[in-house]
Symmetry: C2
């Protein structure tokens, strides 16, 4: 028996998120099916990050166990031949049999893109959220700086989630203008449900002048979902990097 770790990239547009469910195709579901067919045994992957419906990934992580003797490095080729165009394995390696991607120290980087121009641009529509309003990037940067550090992010977590602790560590929040796009890049050690999208929704309100950067500490302090801004739409969000520390 060995444990294999896969790095999985996907375009989330046509999926109901990572986590398997009864109705609708999911990334976890398609991986289980392709792996089970390939290995002729029942495989159930353990995912690192259960991304929402419509969210993309350049490198999410999943592990599974197998008795088969296929070398780890063969899996990207064998699986990619079975997977659809919008889900592709980027890497596969053997890991310790007790390695669990959600129970170990890790750092994730998410990128949120806002296509900020007078009219929507078709080739950007799947990976950037379109908004024609002007944004004050400098104010967004000031606001973003307040997120860095160890804070209780309860205000930035979907109200219906139950977790033991809502304290999380954010390492970096960058706000950058790249031609017609505003790119918000968030690196942290684990995130609450919808946390990045609520942070981005709140930063967008700051960018539009509806809130001041100095309000972020008060929003954190409030520890209730309604203190923060709206949840930014899924399509602009991509999980770009996963590091195990």
């Amino acid at each position: 028996m060995k444990r294999i770790m896969l790095t999985v990239a996907y375009d989330g547009t046509n999926y109901h998120g990572w986590q398997i469910q009864k109705n609708g195709e999911t990334i976890e579901g398609i991986l289980n099916r392709c792996l089970s067919e390939l290995l002729q045994e029942k495989i159930e992957v353990i995912g690192a990050s259960r991304t929402d419906s419509g969210v993309h990934a350049l490198g999410n992580v999943a592990v599974f166990d197998t008795d088969r003797r296929i070398p780890a490095e063969k899996f990207p080729y064998a699986l990619n031949a079975r997977l659809p165009e919008d889900v592709k394995i980027q890497d596969a390696r053997e890991v310790a049999p007790d390695f669990h991607p959600r129970h170990c120290e890790s750092r994730k980087t998410y990128e949120y893109r806002i296509y900020n121009a007078p009219f929507p641009m078709p080739v950007k529509r799947l990976y950037s959220y379109f908004s024609y309003t002007p944004y004050n990037i400098e104010a967004m940067r000031e606001a973003a700086a307040y997120f860095v550090g160890i804070h209780d992010f309860k205000s930035f977590c979907s109200a219906d989630t139950q977790v033991e602790s809502t304290v999380r560590q954010v390492d970096e929040v960058l706000v950058e203008k790249q031609e017609d796009e505003i790119v918000i890049r968030v690196t942290g050690r684990g995130f609450l449900y919808n946390m990045v999208r609520i942070m981005v929704g709140t930063l967008m309100e700051v960018g539009r002048g509806h809130r001041l950067p100095e309000e972020i500490p008060q929003i954190l302090e409030a520890k209730e979902r309604k203190a923060a801004g709206p949840t930014a739409p899924a399509c602009g969000l991509t999980l770009i990097k996963y590091e195990f520390l």
Copy 2:
């Protein structure tokens, strides 16, 4: 009667190219339909560049005539409300009644993207051609330089096309590495059918070491399609800019 010029952006993935045809949706077809519905008169646009099936555009150009008194600058809003997500108007302005986008001096810029990594990346698949082979960028640049100037591009034109002259002026060919992508940007005064894709297909052969940069002048000299490399796939190509001189 006034003539309106539209700047049209589209994701070509789901279209049978620009030019109207009996079977399959085209950009010209959808523009004619939306404009005719909007203006309640039969509209037939004249396109500047009849892009192939699967090719994208950030700014192709179309003109049409109307008797209606709608100000030009209202057209992007009115049309975008009717157009699907993968076709969007970026600009509209009134032009001289005899302005014809194919019978005037213009400069077009095309961009071809090659996603060059070991495995395909889902979020790149619609706008970049995937290739895992290593490419020699320096050799591609050397080869590209031979295209610049006024040449007979007969070898770089689909064999079944009939045009008066196959002489064209290419102003610039840039080959650039952008992270995992190779970007080839071609600017010129008009192009033959499939010319950019055949130029790119030939540059890719140079990049893989199957041809030398010094062979480009001989290929131009040969004046026959089979002397050049293959036609690169459509999905990697985007018409990024149209300038009227």
